[in-house]
Every structure is written in C-alpha cells, then in structure tokens.
Point group: C2
Chain length 93, copies 2
C-alpha cells in the first residue's frame, strides 16, 4: 500500500468511529502509540517494533483523514533532500 | 513517493547524521514533532498541518531506518481492515 491507499483503507475501517470521538481523542491515541513505539525501540523485539511502527503510521493516517490532509502531499517536501537547506545529504549547521 | 521511496530519500538526506546522534535522540525529535503536530491540529492553518504531518512522517521514517524496519511491511497489517477484529469497518467493542 502507498500512503493514499493506507488513508483510504483506514478511512473505511475507522473513519466513522474516529470522527465521532473527535480530533482531540485521536491526538491522545496517537500519543499513546508513540509511547508504545518508544518502548519497543528501547526494549522490544524486531517484530514488536514493526507492530508499533504500523500502529503509529495508522494513527497518523486517521488524524490526517480527520484534518483533510493528504500524506503523500505532506511528504513531498522531503523528495529532493532537506527542505530547510535544500541539500542531500542535509548540510544544515 | 511511496513509503519505501521516502525511507530511501530520508536515509540519503539524514541517515549518517541521525545514526551518529543515536536512537534516543531520534525518539526525542519525533516526540517534539508530535507536539508541533498536536499544536497545528489545535490552532494551525491547513498549510501548517500539512507541514507538521510531513515532519512527523519523516521522523518516523528516520527512526524506522535506524531500526531496520520496513514501513511498507509495517502498515500491511491494516490492509484488510482492523487487525484486531478482522473487520472493515472495525467492529471492536
């Protein structure tokens, strides 16, 4: 799946329920998932890390859906290197 | 860009520097970006939200690179609906 396909499948799986709970609840859930990812990175197995990375991206996708943001558009800033200094590799001080 | 292309461009842009700083520093930066996204969602413009979603995905990508995690594989759990209940839409209680 690319990011557009992910946003579509997440919309069809969770969109109605997540919108009913509201954006603040989605931010809270995403924060919880970031905590689980941080723990998996610190002391988890590779499979647990894969699991938590998937959950974080899924919650970012549902928040993006609620905000009407296209994640493929959002990452385009990075396509040609660092958006701040314009270089690849980044040459920011 | 799909997620594999993003991970590649992020690796070439930031990989060496991010690895030198270490995983804990990347987790801290990602957390900072989550805070900026939360603020943009609460009181930002659409363009500011697009910007912050891009930054969050980019930091997730650099952390995934450091951990040897393929984000395309990680999101595959969601391809057929909710990985917990197996339904689309999700039917979890």
């Amino acid at each position: 799946m690319d990011l557009a396909e992910l946003q579509d499948v997440i919309e069809r799986t969770y969109g109605e329920r997540d919108r009913a709970r509201g954006v603040a609840a989605t931010v809270a859930w995403l924060t919880e998932e970031i905590g689980e990812l941080a723990q998996a990175v610190r002391k988890g197995t590779h499979d647990e890390r894969v699991h938590e990375f998937g959950d974080v991206i899924a919650w970012v996708a549902t928040l993006a859906n609620q905000e009407g943001v296209d994640l493929s558009e959002a990452i385009q800033r990075y396509a040609d290197g660092c958006p701040r200094c314009g270089s690849m590799p980044c040459a920011c001080p």
